[in-house]
Amino acid sequence: MSFNKLLSEKKPAILKKWFDAILDTYPAETADFLKKQKDRFANPVGSTIYSGMDSLLNSLLNADDPDTISKYLDDIVRIRAVQDFTPSQSLAFVFKLKDAVREEMSGESNAGDFPGELIAFERRVDALALTAFDIYMKCREKIYDLKANELRNMTVKLVERANLIFEARYRDIDLKDLVLEGNKSERGE
């Protein structure tokens, strides 16, 4: 049996282990809820993470293109980037996939037959972690963008009006003369 075939067979068990590992980062009552509530609108965090992980595993098995993988990863990281985690806590779940795969594979008599494939798979997980880091940073930068934009939107009409007043008042005056005049008045001339 090939490594990929074995991995496909083990996928449900791996997914369960991987999902449980990320749930462990939430308080116990919450983890229970995130796991049990299946309605995606009543449980946006649990269902988004679960379906994201499911799609990610499929993508890794199918060797999908980076853009597809990135989209699934984005769904999960976007949520964790605004929750109560340090950056390392937010993204540690990616590496937990390695543990889940190794634990599931260890029981298999022929798991030792694919050291090369296992290493290659784990390298793909490492690449996934780096992509997750990029997404995490984009999310954090977005948060700061939002803060700046809100302030800008609050004042944009003020600035617009100030410009209109300025234009109306100084329409026929050369800006250079205005600056010179200002400098003079500052110097008390």
Binding site: A28, N43, P44, T86, P87, S88
Partner: protein
């Protein structure tokens, strides 16, 4: 994001599992990006709030006033006597957990203290300790605990992580209104001078200038004039509204966000166009220039004081009735409190549309009608000429604002309007709309910028449903009837569902409204070129 403090050796041994302690034994951690800055002293002085002092939420020492504990306990006692509902809500909960997973903040944060039942329990535990025999004797066994500084901080932290949206109340078999518990909790913190800047500032502005933004009469007028310029550019029609005009039939009151903030001003342009087209005998007021009421997020008394200007202005101007713009909490206040606080407004008449003759009996006592009720009635009677195709570039979904939905039961009118002014309308899933609608995540004065993480977490359940219709149907516009929604959902969409804009319903009406004598429209109210009109100018 939590503060990054781990050292390398800790990182090696880090355990990503959460500690398992009971809620009473899990101390509060005041986290950055989750709270709003405190109010400035001068803002609190303006309205005479007590115990004004310097403090910062992230500091160990909050410089609490002497005797703070007695102040809180006396505050609870007074409110137990004054509000029967509060007393009942403190006693009646059986902790069934029906509300637990219904709160958008719990769903987004995963923090058990954001479960409505536990949020209430933070205060109930104090009530039991000091006001019930079982709590006094049995203590923790009876769910009671001492009021300490840490407990006070915990109450403060979590009561400003509740938007009083009342979604949990829909699911509570006893009908416990968590919003009322939060209101009381916030009143208690307010007794100690622990007010937020984002609430204290608007309250002071509103008290002094009549509106949250502190716009003075000439500013209000010039802001509206700028909108009129834009309307003229788009339609070729010059509108001349009146301000503070005595003898007008109708006084129009709207949230001040519509006069200044984006995209609220497009909603205001919609109002102006509609009223002009109808030839409505109405006036704006630069005094009653705010329908919203941030006093409602600080104390009952403050809310009442700020609200009083609406009837006072209606009386001064001698209007017959009051028409209100698109806002959320404004309508909870107008619909459920104004008449009791500052009524009866027996000098006014029951609102009657001068265009259709419809009498709005639902506003028989308060004498104030919602713009969506007014507009829907006009459409129903065929009084508006509408060109839906002007909104064809928009695929619209409707977000029920918590307060208009759960606070006044208005579900159909906004939908009826949208369906008559847009060709493409798609509902979000059933358990996220109407009385089960999810909050924007930033109401009740939490729409500051410094708490952006909290807002994004709280906004997730709503955004998650928008994302669904965005992916399924290509929805690109989130319509609503609330100024706070218009201001805050824009940020939420930007983070969670890029590509979806936010608009008030009156903006969509303004787009579709065919006005007498208008030129051929080539742009919508935002100045964006209409499909098929490229190169027309």
């Amino acid at each position: 994001m939590a503060k990054f403090t781990a050292k390398p050796k800790d990182l090696i041994q880090i355990d990503f599992k959460n500690p398992k302690t009971g809620w009473m034994d899990t101390p509060v951690e005041i986290r950055e990006h989750m709270f709003c800055h405190p109010a400035k002293a001068k803002e609190l002085e303006t309205v005479g709030f007590p115990n004004i002092h310097e403090w910062r939420p992230q500091d160990e020492n909050w410089n609490l006033p002497e005797g703070w504990k007695e102040t809180v306990l006396n505050g609870i006692k007074e409110r137990l006597q004054k509000y029967r509902s509060f007393h009942v809500f403190m006693d009646i909960c059986v902790r069934c957990g029906a509300c637990a997973d219904k709160c958008h903040f719990y769903l987004g944060t995963g923090d058990p203290k954001n479960m409505p039942v536990l949020r209430a329990e933070l205060l109930r535990s104090i009530y039991r300790k000091y006001f019930t025999a079982s709590g006094k004797i049995l203590g923790k066994t009876a769910g009671a605990r001492e009021l300490t500084e840490d407990v006070l901080k915990e109450i403060w932290y979590y009561y400003y992580q509740c938007t009083e949206c009342r979604r949990c109340s829909v699911f509570c078999p006893y009908g416990i209104d968590q919003a009322e518990i939060t209101m009381i909790g916030r009143e208690l913190t307010n007794l100690l001078g622990l007010q937020l800047g984002w609430i204290g500032g608007p309250v002071a502005n509103c008290y002094m200038k009549g509106n949250h933004l502190g716009l003075e009469p000439h500013t209000i007028k010039s802001n509206i004039e700028m909108m009129l310029d834009d309307i003229e550019t788009i339609t070729g029609i010059r509108i001349n509204p009146t301000f503070n005009r005595k003898g007008a039939e109708i006084l129009f009151v709207t949230p001040s966000g519509d006069l200044f903030a984006m995209p609220g001003i497009y909603t205001a342009m919609g109002y102006l166009m509609l009223f002009h087209e109808l030839g409505l005998d109405y006036t704006w007021s630069t005094y009653a220039s705010e329908g919203g009421n941030f006093g409602f997020f600080s104390s009952n008394e403050m809310a009442k004081r700020l609200n009083s200007k609406i009837y006072a202005e209606a009386k001064r101007l001698g209007v017959k009735w009051v028409l209100g713009g698109e806002c959320g909490h404004m309508w909870r206040v107008l619909h459920q409190y104004m008449d009791t606080w500052n009524g009866p407004a027996d000098f006014l008449e029951v609102p009657k549309s001068p265009i259709t003759g419809t009498v709005f009996d639902n506003a028989k006592s308060a004498k104030m009608t919602h713009i969506s009720e007014f507009t829907a009635d006009l459409i129903k009677h065929g009084k508006l000429k509408l060109d839906k195709s002007r909104n064809d570039h928009l695929k619209v979904t409707f977000h029920d604002s918590c307060n208009t939905a759960r606070g006044m039961g208005m579900f159909e009118e906004p939908r009826y309007i949208i369906k008559n002014v847009c060709n493409h309308f798609y509902e979000m899933p059933e358990n996220t709309i109407r009385e089960k609608t999810f909050c924007c995540g930033s109401g009740t004065g939490l729409n500051a910028s410094e708490n952006m993480e909290l807002r994004m977490r709280g906004g997730l359940p709503r955004a998650n449903a928008v994302k669904y219709v965005h992916e399924q149907h290509g929805v690109n516009m989130l319509a609503n009837v609330c100024a706070i929604d218009r201001a805050t959902l824009s940020a939420s969409m930007d983070y969670w569902v890029p590509g979806v804009g936010v608009a008030g319903i009156s903006e969509l009406v303004g787009n579709a409204l065919v006005m007498e004598g208008e030129k051929e429209r080539t742009a919508d109210l935002r100045g964006e070129t209409l499909p098929g009109k490229e190169g027309a100018e």
